[in-house]
Symmetry: C2
Subunit: 226 residues, 2 copies
DNA sequence: ACCTGAACACCGTTCAAGT
DNA sequence: ACCTGAACACCGTTCAAGT
């Protein structure tokens, strides 16, 4: 509950804070309690420092958020991509985007809010471009494939984030379907729509459809030529 | 600039407000100036009434937003769906979701923020379920197709909304690619990534890929059997 | 039933002032 | 150079009080 007693340097007056320490603390705070917990006052209290100190070191809230996202982004820099064929390797990167977004959902949601998704996923975006390149896609086609795949993943993430934060629940998709009297819709469909889909499985299917549309494997996926 | 002189009823003291008038005004405000303009104080001033009056009529901000979204949703109720084959008609509904979201981007963005996207698009969701039904999809398959398509559209919308609100522009995807020295990525690709994609065209391609994955036309799309 | 003003507990941000 | 307290201009929400 008490703010961590920050290590006061020899002077006895300096708080011993620097840009990185503040950003690090902000990142931890968001990861633990979500973006709403990140207020300048709260963060300052947690660092045992006056609110205005944060402004001196990192600037306003927007700069803080940008720095925080970039910090996490660097951690996503090195990833292992495996897969036999090109399309399989593209799928692997897409899954990385999905997995890392879910692993750091609070920061990802924050990045979505401020429109800095690309900043957060830049290393993965580069990795995706590289795999598309080895798949033979270049120029505008490669860009379109990359953007389409990432936008689709983003759409899935928005829904995935909503699932764990139930919210008002009143205007959740599945509860809305509880009141529908179906004209021209089979009852089995209405019933199914009251349950959430298997998101990871559907993700796999949907992204695969996009990948198949853009990257045409020379060899069949399951039996790459040795 | 001045608040609209609200029609004071005969009593001379009543503001003559009701639930619907407040919600209507809130909707207009959001459509015109975005979700950040919707504050309880601002709305009250615009209605020429005390802030607390809004609380009495419609409840807090969340209820107001929900009501506002639902109001707009009702306007999307009746739409014309055309197209020869089943998959063409499904595409038509998807385009409707896209178009109406862009036409009312501020409210749609707000709905995204509070997790009420489904509430806003419910009429279109029903229309989509109906077209999928006539395409022969039932039960869980129909649900998965519907969800996948809508999630993909949502992902595109998030990016589309970012485009017209440039924001900090520093961590926009295309500016980030300006600094990239490409290892294993063709220069033409890097160059292309510095430009935004043709969003409507890419939307068409991506959603079509999903539709083709889920709904298999019995007849070819272009030449339906008479 | 309908509407008000005052008050509470928050925000982000600025700025003159301290050491 | 680094840090502070006070202040400004906002929020959403509650609640006793008016007619």
């Amino acid at each position: 509950m008490k703010a961590a007693t920050s290590p006061l340097r020899g002077t006895g007056r300096r708080a011993g804070l620097d840009h990185d320490a503040i950003v690090e603390r902000a990142l931890t705070l968001v990861e633990a309690e979500g973006s709403t917990a990140l207020t300048m006052r709260r963060l300052a209290a947690e660092l045992g420092v006056a609110t205005t100190t944060i402004y001196w070191h990192v600037g306003g809230r927007d700069e803080l958020i940008t720095a925080l996202i970039q910090r996490l982004s660097e951690r996503h820099a090195e990833i292992e991509i495996e897969g036999a064929g090109p399309s399989e390797r593209v799928m692997c990167v897409a899954r990385h985007v999905w997995d890392s977004a879910l692993a750091h959902r609070n920061v990802t949601a924050l990045a979505h809010q401020v429109g800095a998704t690309s900043l957060l996923e830049m290393p993965l975006e580069i990795a995706l471009a590289r795999e598309l390149d080895t798949a033979g896609l270049r120029g505008e086609v490669a860009r379109d494939a990359l953007r389409a795949i990432l936008m689709c993943v983003a759409g899935f993430l928005v829904v995935a984030f909503r699932s764990d934060d139930p919210g008002p629940a009143r205007h959740q998709a599945r509860t809305l379907w509880a009141d529908i009297t179906a004209d021209g819709i089979d009852r089995s469909t209405v019933t199914a729509l009251r349950e959430p889909p298997d998101l990871p499985a559907l993700f796999e299917t949907a992204v695969r459809a996009l990948v198949d549309r853009f990257v045409v494997d020379v060899e069949p996926r399951d039996a790459p030529v040795a």
